[in-house]
Amino acid sequence: MSQLLAVNHLSKSFGAVVVANDLSFSVTEGEAVGILGPNGAGKTSLFNLLTGALRADNGTIEFCGKDITHTPAALRCKNGIARSFQIPKPFVGMTVFENCLVAATQAAGLRGARARQHAIEVLNDTGLIDKANHHAGKLTLLDRKRLEMARALSTRPSLLLLDEIAGGLTEAECQTLISSIKKIQSAGTTIIWIEHVVHALLAVVERLIVLDFGKKIAEGDPQTTMAQDAVKAVYLGVE
């Protein structure tokens, strides 16, 4: 398997707040990587840097062997990087179906009936099809999060960035989510998942990266990483 994403010495700060501190890691095609870290560690900011919503102060990002550090967000998405927003950002004046259609037409580059078909398939897979005609602005928070996932999948991503999508789910819903993410992964999509619901995360990911103050404090296979003292120390103060 070849390398899909390489982050090299990435740095970013907002004044005194450092959200990425000389961050380096890489992700292999088809892999599922989990990201852990306390509140404010810079997890969402890392996604923002990967999608192009934020510009790095220093360092580079390579995707599919190409340097995308200065590539605009829209093009990165077209090239295969999709994300869900931790705080959902639905297109509130559109229906659930239309939200997915934006992704299918603009990012996946599909047209006409093929774009519509793709959006329908994604809604079927994510269990949102019965709400296809609902206004996105009137959805419950849980459905907004489902829509985040559906809209990201509608872009036909090769790298899917998921930002805290398991919070607030019942145990049964959580199991459904776990199996659907596994299904997405086995279909060939690489996944990076930020999640505070650790047991859900550990059910899916093959590797963990732990961040604190924008710095990578641990990385490796889930069990040994969770057992590390540095990780325990960070998490003791949190939850």
Binding site: C77, M94, Q106
Partner: protein, 339 residues
Amino acid sequence: MNTRVTRSSRFSNGALAVLALLVVVLLTAPWWAGRAELRLFGEIYLYLSLACLWNLMAGYAGLVSVGQQAYVGFGGYMLFALTIYAGIHPVAAIIAGGLLAAAISIPVATLIFRLNGAYFAIGTWVVAEVFRLSFAQVSALGGGSGSSLPVAIVKSLADSRSARESLSYYLAIGSLILVFAAIYFLLRSNRGIALTAIRDNESAAAELGVNVWRTKLEIYVVTSALTAIIGGLIFLQKLRISPEAAFSVNDWTAFVIFIVVIGGIGTLEGPIIGTIIFFLLRETLADFGTTYLMILGLVAIIVMIKAPKGLWGLISQRYDLEIFPLRYRVQQSATTEQG
């Protein structure tokens, strides 16, 4: 389950049929309407066109401009300049004015697109003032006091006055149909989905593959060109131009914003409703002088408080209606049905 995606509804089909009939009736207006009504109708069509264009920019592309009078005036002045000094036919001059406006709007856009929100609005206004002051310097076009369209040029449109009035009416309704159809088909296309996404959440749109900057630029250039064409037609009706009239922020922007805001910004139906209300108010309150402007302001404030999405927003929300079908509806039917 069998899934189908439709766009039109029974309501939209019916409404469009009624609207088409109305357009046919209006196309015959030169046969049944008086001179004053024809002029009024022409003015209504041109205002509606301006409102549709401003709505496309502000309501969809998020470009809240208070300076579109720059292009109204530019189009008007190009009509005078190109007919008087280049000797071309007025209709050709108006179209050429549109193309020149498109060319000018590109450097203007690279300048003002650096500004955001209120600063962008102020930027557009400054640009319009620069246009006004520049044209006031051109003595060949009458400088600050303006000029009239020479009789020979007016006559080149048609010999008789009534024929000219019919022509001017058809140019107005024709360009309204053109502008409206262009916007409608744009919004129905893939480009339109991108624009609607920008309308709802610009940053999310960018991260979903929408090239926000380019889309905005395209919208700015196209609306500027079409606004200049409408400007040319406005001053073909007036036959006289001056910097004050051509670049009036009141006439070509404030009233247009009023129309779009009370009708419903970010909808195709809004500008139509807004234009009808604006002209109803204007025709009934014209005798009140400045009080009329205060009433307009009052109406705008009440509508903004009671119906932030305008009157059409209020109606469409309550009854889930759409005259111009832009929506998609997913329809599921069980495949196990008989037959």
